[in-house]
């Protein structure tokens, strides 16, 4: 069972709510995914806004994980966090600070500074970071409830490009490791789970699939399969072949 800040989750698949064509599709996909923890963003309100996601999501019983997307500095992220806590009634927070819209790479200096302040203010902080083992350890020491290293750039669907560093993060982390960003296919999510990741967060790959509901179901299965494989103990890799059947020398025995 996944446990973050003393809260237990049956599902190891976190989902985002962005990029869906229609809110009904999103709700159906979330249900198919089995997710229990879903991310939301915060935006300045326009009186014409008709984006009423909060109530149906809260009514459906999901635990909400507001993000600080749009923040470019620690100061902005702290302000976004306070607003998100007020708006969504939760102190859980996906802390993300990415100043550059082209790559959306998380800023490690601002993220650590913001995390230290937010932990002091009582937030349950889940920071989105590069797959940097030293940074993840520093964030854990700062009191973060989990770390969320990226697989590849947000929305890139490129899979576990950071695999070698995720290995180190997983090996040394004392808090849950949630691979976030860049997982484009269920096979990649399964691979992350096989590595020993505690959970994955998927948004684009589900939301922009031709059939988001079916893709959500596929990710659910992949995450469960990957976790089961991890728990079962994966067989060791070998550089050469190793026979699975006895190699009896039929021909030479039959012809003296």
């Amino acid at each position: 069972m996944l446990t973050i800040a003393d809260t237990h989750f049956q599902s190891r698949l976190l989902t985002g709510t962005g990029k869906f064509h229609h809110p009904d599709t999103m709700l159906a996909a979330l249900e198919a995914s089995g997710t229990e923890l879903v991310t939301l963003a915060l935006r300045r309100m326009d009186r014409r806004d008709r984006d009423h996601l909060f109530e149906p999501l809260a009514r459906a019983g999901y635990r909400l994980l507001p993000n600080t997307s749009g923040a470019r500095t620690a100061d902005e992220a702290v302000q976004a966090a306070r607003l998100a806590r007020e708006a969504m009634g939760t102190s859980w927070l996906k802390l993300e600070i990415h100043p550059d819209p082209r790559w959306l790479m998380p800023d490690p200096v601002e993220t650590l500074a913001a995390a230290e302040r937010l932990v002091r203010e009582g937030f349950v902080v889940l920071p989105y970071v590069h797959a940097d083992p030293v940074l993840c350890k520093r964030l854990e020491e700062a009191g973060c409830a989990a770390v969320m290293p990226l697989a590849a750039p947000i929305g890139s669907n490129r899979g576990l490009e950071s695999r070698a560093f995720l290995d180190i993060i997983i090996e040394q982390s004392g808090v849950p490791v949630i691979v976030d960003a860049g997982l484009g296919a269920p096979s990649q999510a399964a691979e992350a789970m096989e590595l020993g990741t505690d959970a994955v967060l998927v948004n684009t790959a589900i939301a922009t699939a031709r059939d988001p509901v079916a893709m959500a179901r596929a990710f659910r299965g992949a995450v469960e399969a990957g976790r089961q494989a991890r728990d079962a103990g994966l067989a060791a890799r070998q550089s050469q072949a190793e026979a699975s059947s006895p190699l009896t020398d039929f021909l030479s025995e039959a012809t003296p």
Binding site: G16, T17, L42, H52, L53, F54, A84, A87
Partner: protein, 66 residues
């Protein structure tokens, strides 16, 4: 008097309170948060928060995101 509502000049009657503006402009909604001159004002205090000339009011709400 005038206040700045999400960076736009917004005329409103003198003696307006925060919840007057919110109700008139956006309606009562869940998933909202308001900052007055940079400080978050909890929903329970909106009715007791008077506004003054030149106040900056920033209104946010939950939207889809990853």
């Amino acid at each position: 008097m005038n206040i700045a509502l999400n960076d736009q000049t917004h005329p409103c009657p003198a003696q307006s309170r925060l919840d007057d503006i919110i109700r008139a402009e956006y309606g009562e909604r869940a998933g909202m948060a308001v900052a007055l001159n940079g400080e978050v004002v909890p929903r329970g205090q909106w009715a007791d928060t008077p506004l003054s000339e030149g106040d900056r009011l920033d209104v946010f709400h939950a939207v889809a995101g990853g």
